[in-house]
């Protein structure tokens, strides 16, 4: 995202570039023109701020619940009314963003690191290392994601006494790296045989320099796209696990838990079910739209 050279021209025919742009520069130019990208980016930014500073959005305390307000209608800053426990639905929904987004980002980072290392190793080393690592990927992919997550999350949270954030992060991270690994592996293999890599090798570049300077940059674009999609999926899966009762535990505030609890009393009040659902869906939608926009921008075939 660095290209101060051509900022002024908006949609003019081919703004004159003084120096050749890199892949990232091209992509950024395309992204700036994409309406999807801006909508998604604004939504993502909004939810990030909400996760970091929930108090900006509501002065109410999400844990201040009294039963005599049960199912009361909207009043004051409690725009969405009160739920079964007499908690402020709006405040709880806003505060729910933090857990969802923290879990999503941390799990995606773990999956990204594992996927990058495995993919690089398999693609660059080739031979038996590739064979072994690819079989490991096959085995992990052989377990349907949610089923694996159920077993792993149960196991990890068995002896945990906290709110279960760590267990869910590890679960999603340890199961979600396979696609990233495959993408990195295939782009490393295709980059490895390019002439410019052979040239660099002949010029005496060592494996580390080859990898970092010549091979890795080619894997970055598809890797980022996979990670964005994975982030959306992780946020959704966290909610699913919490909904099933094996994700976040105890008095943790989470959209998944809210959907599960309010779903049981939906005949009495719909708002406590509807709003966490809407926020969750919007977050996932925004993240995946962002991934779509980035993929379109990075894919030269569509240009």
């Amino acid at each position: 995202m660095r290209d101060p050279g051509v900022v002024t021209g908006v949609a003019g025919p081919a703004p004159a570039a003084d120096r050749p742009r890199g892949l990232a520069g091209d992509a950024w130019r395309d992204l700036r023109r994409s309406r999807t990208f801006w909508i998604a980016a604004v939504l993502v930014a909004l939810f990030l701020v909400m996760a970091a500073f929930p108090a900006l959005f509501t002065p109410a305390d999400p844990r201040a619940c009294t039963l005599d307000r049960q199912y009361d209608g909207p009043s004051g800053t409690a725009f969405f009314g009160y739920d079964f426990q007499g908690c402020d639905t709006y405040a709880r929904t806003v505060y729910g963003a933090r857990n969802s987004i923290t879990v999503g980002i941390l799990a995606t980072l773990i999956a990204g690191v594992i996927g990058l290392v495995v993919g690089l190793a398999a693609g660059y080393l080739g031979g038996w290392a590739d064979a072994v690592l690819s079989r490991v990927v096959d085995v992990v992919l052989g377990i349907p994601f949610l089923l694996g997550a159920i077993v792993l999350a149960r196991r990890l949270s068995q002896n945990a006494s906290d709110d279960g954030v760590l267990a869910v992060v590890l679960t999603l991270g340890l199961l979600g790296w396979t696609t990233a690994a495959r993408v990195v592996r295939s782009s490393v293999i295709s980059a490895k045989n390019q002439d410019y890599v052979a040239a660099a090798r002949m010029l005496g570049a060592g494996p580390a320099r080859l990898m970092m300077r010549h091979i890795l940059p080619n894997s970055v674009a598809p890797f980022i796209v996979v990670l964005t999609v994975l982030l959306g999926a992780n946020i959704a899966t966290e909610a699913t696990l919490s909904f099933l009762g094996i994700g976040l535990q105890g008095d943790a505030i989470s959209w998944g838990i809210a959907i599960n609890e309010s779903g049981r009393f939906v005949r009495s009040a719909a708002a406590p079910l509807v709003w966490p659902s809407v926020f969750l869906a919007l977050t996932v939608l925004a993240v995946i739209m962002l991934g779509d926009a980035i993929r379109d921008a990075f894919d030269p075939k569509l240009r």
């Binding site: 085995v139 052989g142 149960r154 099933l244 779903g263 509807v274 996932v284």
Partner: protein
């Protein structure tokens, strides 16, 4: 072809043992005191402990225990739930319901996806195409935990079009709403794949030939294009099965359908370890077998694909 099948089978055996080993190791390995866990809070005498240890092979090495477990699995003995019921009995009750639900979901999803996919593939960039693309994006992004409770709220509780819960011996009618919810998990990808396959095949030489022979547009699209466009859709079934399984756990939980997913859901909430492992193992096996069959079917359907 034969060598391909053989290699694929060998790979599947490896994946199968790897996957079940991971599931088994996660569930049962390194438990603090499984005997005490089995008895709950009741005290256990030494002789009881000895009998239980022998019955469950707890004093034997881990790999040996895994072997016993696999032997049980492969001979149809999935163990006993903490409620005392045999898991194979519970399966026998649960599978018909889930299969009914899944079939309904697949039929609905395939009908919608193929019809809409063909139409938007023919009229690309038209209004219908643009609207379906946006709709599929929205559906793709709606997690099942959002979709199932909201659908139940709107169509089951508020509008009252469908029964909000299905229960035991559910009729096809009662299963319709859950099936639509479940089907929406797979409809978007199917639609998009059909659309791009149709759009691509319309430009193929054989379509031009068929048109040049004077065949009607209906026959060209209905027979020539459609048949070739459905091949990639078939391969999606393997992925779809995984999605449907995850979806069934939530959907059956929300709509109270006593199927496989519902049992698993209940097993999780009541911390019924043997039940969870039993059901998960079976689902993993189903997933692997379906994926193998789909791969082989793909090779059979499209003779252009040669496997060495």
């Amino acid at each position: 072809m034969f060598r391909y099948i053989l290699r694929r089978l060998l790979q599947m055996v490896l994946t199968f043992f790897g996957a079940t080993f991971i599931v088994y190791a996660l569930m049962f390995a390194n438990q603090d005191d499984p005997v005490q866990a089995l008895a709950g809070d009741r005290p256990i005498t030494d002789s009881q402990r000895q009998i239980l240890t022998e019955r469950y092979h707890l004093d034997e090495p881990f790999l040996q225990q895994y072997r016993y477990y696999m032997e049980g699995l492969l001979t149809g003995d999935f163990g006993t739930s903490l409620t005392g019921r045999r898991i194979s009995d519970m399966m026998a009750d649960a599978w018909p319901v889930t299969i009914k639900l899944a079939l309904l979901a697949i039929v609905i999803a395939a009908t919608v996806a193929i019809t809409a996919g063909v139409v938007s593939g023919i009229r690309r960039a038209g209004t219908f195409d643009n609207v379906t693309l946006v709709l599929t994006l929205v559906i793709l992004c709606l997690p099942i935990v959002v979709l199932a409770p909201l659908a139940r709220l709107v169509f089951g509780v508020q509008l009252g079009w469908f029964p909000p819960t299905a229960g035991r011996d559910a009729s096809w009618w009662a299963l319709l709403l859950p099936a639509i919810v479940l089907g929406s998990l797979v409809v978007a990808t199917q639609l998009r794949v059909t659309r791009s396959a149709v759009a691509e095949n319309l430009r193929a030489d054989y379509v031009r030939t068929a048109r040049a022979k004077g065949l009607s547009g209906r026959r060209v699209i209905g027979v020539h294009v459609l048949r070739n466009s459905l091949i990639p859709v078939v391969t999606l079934v393997g992925v779809d099965i995984g999605n449907l399984m995850s979806g069934a756990i939530v959907t059956e939980g929300v709509f109270n359908i006593p199927g496989v997913g519902f049992n698993l859901f209940r097993g999780i909430t009541t911390e019924d370890g043997p039940l969870v492992v039993g059901f998960v193992s079976i689902l993993v096996i189903v997933f692997l077998v379906v994926n193998l069959v789909v791969d082989l079917l793909y090779a059979a359907l499209d003779p252009r694909i040669r496997y060495a």
